[in-house]
Point group: C2
Chain length 205, copies 2
Amino acid sequence: MEDIEEFEYEPRSVKELFIEMKNIVELMVDLAYSSILFGDKEIAEEVLDLEERMDLLNYQMMVHAVLAARNVKEAEKVTSILQMANAIEDISNAAGDLAKMVLEGLEPHPVIKEAILESEEIIAKITVTPNSILAGKTLGELKLASNTGVWIIAVRRGKRWIFAPDKDFRIKPLDVLIGRGTHTSIEHLKEIARGVIRVVGHERA
Amino acid sequence: MEDIEEFEYEPRSVKELFIEMKNIVELMVDLAYSSILFGDKEIAEEVLDLEERMDLLNYQMMVHAVLAARNVKEAEKVTSILQMANAIEDISNAAGDLAKMVLEGLEPHPVIKEAILESEEIIAKITVTPNSILAGKTLGELKLASNTGVWIIAVRRGKRWIFAPDKDFRIKPLDVLIGRGTHTSIEHLKEIARGVIRVVGHERA
């Protein structure tokens, strides 16, 4: 009942729902790997919260999509939306399964962590030192993803997690960034975070 | 029978199998979105070929993992490998389902392409002009992923596709790169590919 009310009071376009689903599922997969890599139950919990959010979005999407079809031609196009939403939902469930492994306290085999650390795109923790040029700047000001190739999926600040920080998120000294990128990108960002490298991208920051 | 023979003659570690599975599944998802975005059946076929490869890897992985367990403690750890492999296989199947939409000629609803083009990480075609500094250089020399934040998932050269080009892949003029990255990263790389920007990363290329 709550879902339906929210749907009625918050009418959103199918496109908006889709974009949110696609962004969330990518975040979920990254966070699921992170939760395994760091054995972190809070990250795993966030994956399951996102899985619930995904279920709601998928429900809203289906209602919207079905309402939109007025003839056979349109119904065929709508079918493509439902198929795509199903595939995204399947990926979301797979990420949820990975997170559940962590929550159930299953000891992961060492090769799992090794594989996450040695694949083409890896996940790593990056601690920001007080004298790093990152400290005090927003992700948007730094254009971090474009300038370093590292995508920040979460930040640990003291005892708190911030998931999927946006461009207005301001990095503070001692923040621990969870980033996804190539080995080279991650190493480069680690040196910036340590204060060894004093530029980000083309301009002096 | 063929699978088993290949398995017997190519003994590989569980870690190697895992790393390959993780790399392939990420490529599959990117290629599946690309095949939908560009309505390209060749890319979709590649996704299905990779799905078959994934099945073989998953089979080899299971045999290895089960053989490795010699007591209850080890068996528990091996279970984590099987669960992880299952989740990766589920994601691979979801990517395969997306590719099948393209192969079946299902007309995708316009919002699907819009959503792929407007989410946080997007996919785009980038044509390399003859006077671009990219032409004639390898991906490794350019450190493209680290320097621009764009991950090259495939390259169209004339009538041929090259999927998952590695660091030794040399870009030629008129190559069409299929890249994944943020909007800013993609726009930046497009200007480099057009010859407007004459540097990649921190050094003059």
